[in-house]
Symmetry: D2
Subunit: 304 residues, 4 copies
C-alpha cells in the first residue's frame, strides 16, 4: 500500500482543520514546545519506512514509556504482576484517586499513573540499579545505544508532581508500594523524561507488532503470548477515559503521552507514531487522534 | 487448523476442573436450566463447522441480543446515535446507576443495560412495529425464518426487572428516553428473551467476522466501517467490568449473556459460541471464559 | 421578645434584596404558584403568635411531611426502624441514587426521598388503611379536623416521579421495600400533597418544641427522648446537602419542602414557619433561608 | 444535678459491658497506650467539677485540636475562611480523598483531615511563627502556661502520614494549599500532638459553652456568633461518618480524636471530656460514645 500517498492526502485535510487543544502546561519544560509541530513515522515489520513533517525531531515520550516499563516488569514477574495492578479500563481520568480508594490501593491498570507507579515499584524491588538497567533495556529495544534520560524534563516534572505524590502516598498507605516513595518517584519521573523522534519510537514499538521479537536485531524482547496481552492492555486502557473512542475510531492498540506523541501498533504489520503537541481535554494529542482516524479510514486497516 | 482436535483436548481439561459459579437466579425461568450444560460451535466465514456437546440445544441469548439491536439502530442513526450513548468502557457492573447519575443520564456504552435501553428507545422511535421489525431483522441475520420471542422468558424477566426499571426511570428523568417507559421496557425484555442454539448464534454473528456481509445470503447487513466499530465496542465493553480480563486472556471481540452464552468473533476468520450456564461473579459464563481462554491459547489466534 | 418588631425589620431588609431562585417546576401543579408569596408564622409553646404576609394561605408542604411520617413510624417501630434507614447526613442531593447503590439499598437518613420511601413502606406494612390512618394522625397533630390530601397535587407529582420510581425500584431490588411499589408510591405522593398555612404548620410542629406533647391538646404525640432524636435528625439531615449551611447560619433543627416552606423548631421555645416559593439550587426556599438567618441573628437565639 | 451520682451509675453499667474496639495503631506512639484507661471530667461554666477514673492523666488530644485551630483561623479570617473549606458534613470517612477530587480540592468541612490541613495553611499564611503563636493561643485558652507540643508523638505521626500527604498534595494540585507542603504538614502534626488531661481539656473547651468567653479569665476568645457557628460545625461534622449517630444518641456538639478523647459541649451549661483509647470502626472512642449516650439519657440533657 502506498502510505506516502495516503499521508499526503491526510496532511492536506489536516491543514484545513483549525488547531485544537493546547500544549500540556503543568510541566514547565513541556510548555515550551512549539504547539504546531507535526510528525509521523510508520515502520513495517519488513523494514519499510514512511514519514512526513517533524518525524526526526526528538520529543518527550512521557506516558508512552509506561508500556516499556510494563514489558520489563511483566517479563520478570509473569502473571503474579496482576496481583498488584489490574487489567481493566478505569473509566476515569488518568490521575484519578477515586478508583484507588475504592479498590484499596490496587490500580485498575498499568497505563494510568497509579498503575505505572506500581510497575516502577516492582522494578525497583528486583533491579539492582533500576534507572540504569531500565535505560539499558530501552536502548536495546530502541536500537539507540546512547539513549539518556532528560534531566531537564525529569526535574521539571518532579517540581509539579502533586497528583502523583498523592497517588503514591495513597498506595503506600494501602501497602501496595514496597519501596521508599522518593526512590520510586525518582525512577518514574526519569522514565517519563525519555526523548525520541517519531522514527525512533516507531522502531522501539515494532516488537509489539512482531510477536515480541525486534525485527532488526531478531532478538526476542518478550514472549508472543505476553506481546498479545500487552497489546490488549493498550487497546483497552491506552487512552485513559478516551480508550473506547480510540478503539472505536482507530481500531488499533496504542498509547499516548502528554508530550503529544501517540504510538499505535498493527500486529503483524507495522507500528506508527504521530506527534503533535496540542492535547484534547482527555490529555491525548488532538491532531494525532485525527490523523490516525483518517489513516485507518483511508487504509481500511484495523484489527477489527 | 483442526479445531475438532483442539476442542477435544480442551474438553478433557475442562472435565478435570471443578464446576464454578451458579446459574442466574434472578430470572425465575433462567434458574430452571441444567447448570452443567456445555455446548460449543465454531463457524468459519467459508462455511466450516466445528462443535461439541449441547451445541444444538436452544438457550436464552439474553444480553447478546444487545449487539443485534445496536447493529439495527446504528445502521439507521449513523453517528448521531452516539449523542445518546457513549462508546467508553464503564468500569462498573452492568447494572450500575452511579455512572448514569454522574453523566446526566447518558450511558457509557450500548453493551450495559442502560445503554441497551437507550438503543431500544431509539428503535421504538423510528420503527412502526418495533418488536415485529426487530424480529424480522434477527430472522434475516440468523437465517431462522420462524424465530420467535419466548413469551415465557420475557414475562419471567419482566417480573424481576427492578434495576432496569430504576435505570430507565433515571434516564427518563434526564430526558434520554423519549418514548413511554412501558413500551421500551416491553421491547427490551422481548429482545432479551430470544433463544438460539450455539450453531444458530454463531451463524447469526458471522456477519461481524465478514466485514458486515452475511456469508450465506451474501446480503450486506451493515457497512464494513460500522462492523469494525461494533467489534471495537464489543472488545472494550462486551463483558462489563471483566472486559479487560476478556481482552487480556482471550483477545477477541465478544459478548456474553446471563443465559450462559458467550459469542466471540475473529474478524476475517470465524465466529464461535460457547454456552455453559454457571456464571462467575461478574455475570459472565464461568466455563465459557475458561474454554475461550484455552482455545485462543491453543490456536494462538487473537486479534492482537 | 418583640418578634413583631424583628419581623418588620427583616421584612424591610428582605424587600431590598433581589428575588433569587425559581419555583419548583418539575411538578406541574407547583409551577403555577405565585413566586413572590411570602408568609411567616411563629408560635410559642405558651400560645403566643407572630406573623406577617401570606401566613394564612395554604401551600403544599411537600417534604416537610417526611417528619410526620417519620414520627408515626418511629413511634411504632422504636429503634428497630434504624435497621432499614440510617441517621447520617447524606452529603449528596436529596434524590441521589449513588449512595443507595453504595450502601446496598439502605438510605442514609429518613429526610431524603429514598429514606422517606422506606418509612412509607414501614407504615404500609403495619397500618391497615395507611392513607386514612396517616391523615388521621396529621389531623390530630395539626388540630385540623377536616384536613385532606390534595388529589390535584398528588396526581401532578405522580406524573413526574421518575427519580422516586428509580429509587424505590433500586431499594426493592436490594430487598428494602417489602410492599408493592405502586402502593408505597401512592402513599408517598399523597403525604407530600398535604397543604397547610404557615400558621397551621407551625402549630403542627409545636410538639417537637415541647418534648413531644402538643401544647394545645396536652396530648403526648411521641416520647421526649424520641422528640430529641427527631430534632437531631432534622438538624443534620433536614436540608439535604445544605444541612451544614443551615445549622451554621441558623442553628435550629428544621425541614424544608420544594413547595417553598421551611419549618424550624427551637426546643423549649417555639416553632416557626416561613413560606416563599423560589428555591435555591439545593432545593430549599431561597428567601426562607435568608429570613431565618436574619431572624436568628437578630434574636441571638439558636440551640448552640 | 448530682453528676457524681450519675457518673457512678454509668461507671457500674460500663463495667458490665465487654471491651470493644482497639487502640489506634497507625501511629506507633499511640499504640503503646493502655487500652483500658477511662477518665471523665465535667466542668460547668460556674466552676463546678465532676470527675472519675483517669481524669488527671495526659493523653494525646489529636483531632480535637482541629477545633482550636479552627477558632484561631476563623477569628482572623471571618467568613472568607469558607471560600477555602466548607461547612457541610462529608458523609465519608475522615481521610477520604474521593470528596476532595469531586469538589476540586475544597474540603467539605474543617473537622476532617483535609479541612484541618487547609486551616493550618491559612494559619501558616498569616502567623509569623505559626507553631509558637498557636501554642500561645492554646496556653491562653487552656490556662496551662507551660503547655508544649509532644515531639515524640509529632514525629511518630509524621512517619506514618501517607494519607495526609496524599490529601495535601491533592489540594496543592487544586491550588488550595498556598504554603510549602512540608511547613504545613509540620504545623499539623505538631498541633495534633498536644497532650492534656480530661480536666484540662474540659477547661479548654469551656469558652464554647460560654458564648466565646473563658469563664475563668473572663477573656473573650471569640465572638458569641462565631461560637455558635463552631458548635454547629462540631454538631454536624465532629464525628466523621458517625456525626449523625452522635447527634442522634447524645445530642451535643462535640469532637473526637484518635487518642481516644471526646469533648462535648452543652452551650450555657458545661463541657465534658471522656477518654478511653479503644476506638470503634469510625475512629471514635467506643466507650466514650457509650458513656456520653448513657450520660445524656440519664441527665435528659441535650440541645434538642
Amino acid at each position: 500500500m502506498d502510505y506516502n500517498q495516503i499521508f499526503n492526502k491526510i496532511r492536506k485535510e489536516l491543514e484545513k482543520l483549525p488547531h485544537k487543544g493546547k500544549v500540556a502546561d503543568y510541566i514547565p519544560e513541556l510548555a515550551k514546545i512549539d504547539p504546531d509541530k507535526l510528525g509521523v513515522h510508520l515502520t513495517t515489520i519488513d523494514d519499510q519506512h514512511y514519514c512526513f513533517g517533524d518525524a526526526d525531531e526528538k520529543f518527550s515520550i512521557q506516558s508512552i514509556a509506561k508500556v516499556l516499563s510494563l514489558a520489563m516488569a511483566y517479563k520478570q514477574e509473569d502473571e503474579k504482576l496482576w496481583k498488584r495492578v489490574g487489567v481493566e479500563p478505569s473509566g476515569t481520568p488518568f490521575n484519578s484517586l477515586l478508583q484507588l480508594e475504592h479498590d484499596n490501593g490496587k490500580p485498575r491498570n498499568p497505563m494510568i499513573n497509579s498503575g505505572a507507579l506500581v510497575v516502577c515499584d516492582v522494578l525497583v524491588s528486583y533491579l539492582k540499579n533500576p534507572k540504569e538497567e531500565f535505560l539499558e533495556f530501552v536502548r536495546k529495544v530502541s536500537g539507540i545505544p546512547d539513549l539518556q534520560y532528560s534531566e531537564k524534563i525529569a526535574s521539571s516534572e518532579r517540581s509539579m508532581s502533586y497528583i502523583n505524590t498523592a497517588l503514591i502516598n495513597l498506595m503506600k498507605y494501602f501497602g501496595n508500594i514496597h519501596n521508599d516513595i522518593e526512590v520510586v518517584m525518582d525512577f518514574y519521573v526519569n522514565l517519563c523524561s525519555i526523548e525520541m523522534t517519531c522514527k525512533e519510537l516507531a522502531h522501539t514499538f515494532l516488537f509489539l507488532a512482531n510477536d515480541g521479537v525486534n525485527p532488526y536485531s531478531k532478538e526476542r524482547i518478550i514472549t508472543a503470548s505476553k506481546t498479545k496481552r500487552i497489546n490488549a492492555i493498550m487497546q483497552l486502557c491506552g487512552f485513559y477515559d478516551q480508550a473506547g473512542d480510540f478503539s472505536f475510531k482507530i481500531g488499533l492498540p496504542g498509547k499516548s503521552g502528554v508530550g503529544g506523541g501517540i504510538v499505535a501498533v498493527h500486529p503483524g504489520k507495522y507500528s506508527i507514531v504521530v506527534w503533535s503537541p496540542r492535547l484534547n481535554k482527555q490529555g491525548n494529542s488532538s491532531k494525532g487522534m485525527e490523523f490516525l482516524e483518517m489513516f485507518t479510514t483511508e487504509t481500511k486497516y484495523s484489527i477489527f
